[in-house]
Symmetry: C2
Subunit: 684 residues, 2 copies
Amino acid sequence: MQKKLLLIALSLPGLALAAEGMWTLDNLPMNRLQAEYGFKPGPEWIKNTMLSSVKLPGCSGSFVSKDGLVMTNHHCASGCIEQLSTAKQNYVSNGFLARKHSEEQVCPAMELNRLEDITDVTEDVRKATAGLEGTSFKQAQNAIEATLTAACVGDDKEKTRCDVVDLYHGGRYHLYKYHRYADTRLVWAPEKAIAFFGGDPDNFNFPRYDLDIAMLRVYENGKPADIKHYFPFSKNGPQEGEMSFVTGHPGSTQRQLTMAQLISLRDIGLVDSLQHTAELRGVVTQYRKTSPEAARTADQALFGIENRYKAGTGRLQTLLDPEFMARQQAEETALRQFVNSRPELKEKIGGAWDAIARAQDSYRQLFRVTNMTEGAEAFNSNYFRLARMLVRAAEEKAKANAERLPEFIDTRLPAVQQNLFSKAPIYPEFEKLKLTHSLTKMREDLGVDHAFVKQVLGKLSPEQLTDKLIDRTRLADVEYRKTLWNGGKEAIALSDDPFIKLALAVEAESRTYRKRMEQEVQAIVQKNSELIAQARFAQSGTSVYPDATATLRLSYGEVKGWDQGEHKIRPFTNFAGAFERDTGAYPFALPASWQAAKGKLNLQQPYNFVTTNDIIGGNSGSPLINRNGEIIGLAFDGNIHSLGGAFWYDGRSNRTVAVHSGGILEAMDKIYNARELLKELTGK
Amino acid sequence: MQKKLLLIALSLPGLALAAEGMWTLDNLPMNRLQAEYGFKPGPEWIKNTMLSSVKLPGCSGSFVSKDGLVMTNHHCASGCIEQLSTAKQNYVSNGFLARKHSEEQVCPAMELNRLEDITDVTEDVRKATAGLEGTSFKQAQNAIEATLTAACVGDDKEKTRCDVVDLYHGGRYHLYKYHRYADTRLVWAPEKAIAFFGGDPDNFNFPRYDLDIAMLRVYENGKPADIKHYFPFSKNGPQEGEMSFVTGHPGSTQRQLTMAQLISLRDIGLVDSLQHTAELRGVVTQYRKTSPEAARTADQALFGIENRYKAGTGRLQTLLDPEFMARQQAEETALRQFVNSRPELKEKIGGAWDAIARAQDSYRQLFRVTNMTEGAEAFNSNYFRLARMLVRAAEEKAKANAERLPEFIDTRLPAVQQNLFSKAPIYPEFEKLKLTHSLTKMREDLGVDHAFVKQVLGKLSPEQLTDKLIDRTRLADVEYRKTLWNGGKEAIALSDDPFIKLALAVEAESRTYRKRMEQEVQAIVQKNSELIAQARFAQSGTSVYPDATATLRLSYGEVKGWDQGEHKIRPFTNFAGAFERDTGAYPFALPASWQAAKGKLNLQQPYNFVTTNDIIGGNSGSPLINRNGEIIGLAFDGNIHSLGGAFWYDGRSNRTVAVHSGGILEAMDKIYNARELLKELTGK
């Protein structure tokens, strides 16, 4: 039986620090908000916030007009911007502005989702998996998820998406129902030089001077979507000390992991994977210097790599910090003592930590070969990604819904198709670069004599195999992909495309490792994490927030600088600062449009600012709103101290970095002369 | 007063495991040798071993004929081989063979040293530094070192080198006197394709199929040096289970560090530095693909980078291994309990571990900026290296010997000059690549707003500054370097060379950080490590061997495979295996000379093999000798399990990888037709 949740906040005494927490909208920390800021959001405020928030792939956004206008970061829309560009018409470097709807261009592969409803399905999931272990447990979980989401979506697959969301590591399962927007168009993007001014050196730093914004518009039935809930713009923006909310989709935090999991994460998820990322960064950095076209086609990927690299390095620092680890150990010890002091809990939950630790040993044995095979790290190419998707879809679609791999259940197929039939360009030279490198790393990491390496390479070098695959594949052709999709297993089996043949050849081995990882690691971790979550609820109720899960959360805080050793970092920068930082050389070169407009600009206009809001990757593009639900800024980054936020929130220095709403309007007006957009946002 | 040591071995009961240990030749584990192998080397055996062993920069070698012929690894001589090559005459890819003395070519920058004498100077050093702290301690240590080495070298600077060697981390100080060979010539090198067959994928692995050998010859007064002690060749080589010795110069181990030091090493020396190395690897890998000339000029550096990367990754695995760390912790706890149980030790030594731990905190604060400035990581270019050497030499030569930086005391100047006036080519394009990258990393790591970054870059980008420096420098001209050297401080001050000006500009800041690091970290660690060494001696005498210090050591062991999970790894490979592994594609392509000779070769001839000898980086090029002092092999690598050997010796799987002496002779004879060399080695 499913229990419908009302959007009513629970009000239990909390453990979290001031401003800490990424709260689900059905469980806001009302008492704390009241006590700290004298503010208690009402049901309408909460509902409007939820319905004005949008999820983008890996990012966040918000509705800012009744005509479907969506604000997000430039770096969240840059995939689309790059895909719409060509060597001759480069919107990445030159920017883009549609002055009327007919000039807005369709993003080749961008689906937006808006959360509409939350249902508690914890009991359904518990019942379905009760008493099961390993693969059976995993399969039962997949099956109930397929059933629940199918019922939730009903007949409206095109416009509805439903996900079962695992909160508190299995402490609660909620069913999230989204409105799907599959037709998204580009409206405005400034030049990358100003969207990402300061580039990698300034990334995760502050003071900052970035106009990291893009405007998109969602369409339905070929017309701008009719939107009832959206955030109006505040021209004045916030004052120092003013309360701020961030509503968005933080991707993932690890604040509730066990010590054994944290150590795995340190050694494998960070130390090991950062070395790989660093090397790939070197390869792509050097490649992009070989020609302007190489730079154009590689820069989007490079941004992702550098962002991941820097974020990972910051997170690693926290896991190498003996003080932090001691703090986590103390928390874990306290919780275990709490459990052991209650016989009924001890009996049921006492062994959970050791079980998870043992699963980590299996993980250490399996991770490398599983990443290479099932994780496809050996085959870093869009062609392989498409080939595997086609091969697996053919196999899975032939099965009953509840028996499929979860990424191919009926309710997910529209998203799979959107991805598979995207017209986003693929650049063969860049694909060769990535694939050669990843095949080389496969050989290095697994060893020359590993059976999988021998199967893949035979007597070929990574370069030779790459050429053989990429020179002959037809997967760049969307029509060919449609033929294979429609042709099902038979078409796949008959295809002579070298990537399809490769994906087929490595399928058995890949699935074997996936299954072993599920059985020997994931199922054990999931089951025992549920137990630990129950212990936490017994200890402190739901007055704690769940780890981030790429679902909608609200964080609260205020506009505030911080102390950096002896330096006091002020919370605001202004336009004058951007001109002072300009060196004329990448990545510190202001674009020509800014140079030209300098005389017209109010140089004292606040431009970027920081707040104490608790956010993490995935929150990029989130609006900052004030108590009135008005947009006062656009989150685009965290400072360097926010990176440890994956593991804990340190209010002394963890800061959200945002573009000021007044700065956005000033730039639209004086630099970009975007009159139509301004009118849509402000009515003027 | 100095106490002359005789080459007599101490015979105390030992703590070390069988085959464990890199023993100084004046303290061999005689009882253990006798007990385990029934072999007790006599004074003549030991003396002959010492005088037949040679130290190369970062490597080892041995005399193998009375005419100054030196055997080492190809990868130890590859600097010379590459420096003697040109785009047209590529000895790296084609190999090199001098059929008579007149064809032997002078290596532009290679000095060889042979250890001749060891003197205990512990008391002299102790007296000089007694009661001193911080910088005074460091300066007194430098001064006594300058005095002792000056007296040791006497008037014979050209042919004598003396070093004070710090053993047992300050437990003992010995004065090592070397014969210098400054005129080294290339005699033979096979093609790199076979010297490094399997390339990076096979590096630190086994089975192997490498002919990683080069022959050099030292000259004196323009003629081949007259050598009394050398190792004869064994054509048969060793049998499985046969005893083997390795004599060579292992660079550095960390088996006697405190837990606090191991954790620093993990976080800074490995995790942090490996990320940098991985990225540089990616940059250089991609650069070398841009043209054959780029590959030729970058490959020597790339080998070093990849070797360091893989070795570091292996070492890191050990420091991330909870079992290993627990073992070290137990050892440290036991030693501390031993100290605390004896009031006189507790009073004097009890605080040493905590003092070292506090120094590590300072190290964490200082390492990054010190590496960038004093460590010159910001300026990764041979031009800067030369510029700094010239700038510092001018400053230091003007001071009294005992007051100089230790690398510029009188007895070191010949080596400085050899380095400074080397005719080794410098490749401007490759220098640009490295310098641009390192300046970029400086900006990233210290931050755009760091005072040092602003001083170095001003408003220039790393690319712009690099071009400005490299396009205008004259430091490629050896004559210009000589002019600056001879002109001293005045010439330096007047030079308009951009690298000289840069080196001068960053000198004050660099020296400041050097001094802080010495005062706040090194002096404290040195003083307290001496105390801990005294505790160890009190606990177990000198029946333990000191950590490796790039000085002559002997290790013993035997020819033996190992168990890899369920696989049994056999100790020998043969020529047939090399042909089986050949794919025709780099790095698994046998050279044409091998293909041509296949019919003539004895394919069953043992080629590479493994032993249990305890070695580490720096041992490359070491001979393996049998009880009769005959060469049975040439060490060129360790297996993957040997990498943890930096921290402990695990006899179950730690293996030395060597070329078989019979394999060397067979290849010389049948593939390279090197009759003259064969005759010199075997008399036939």
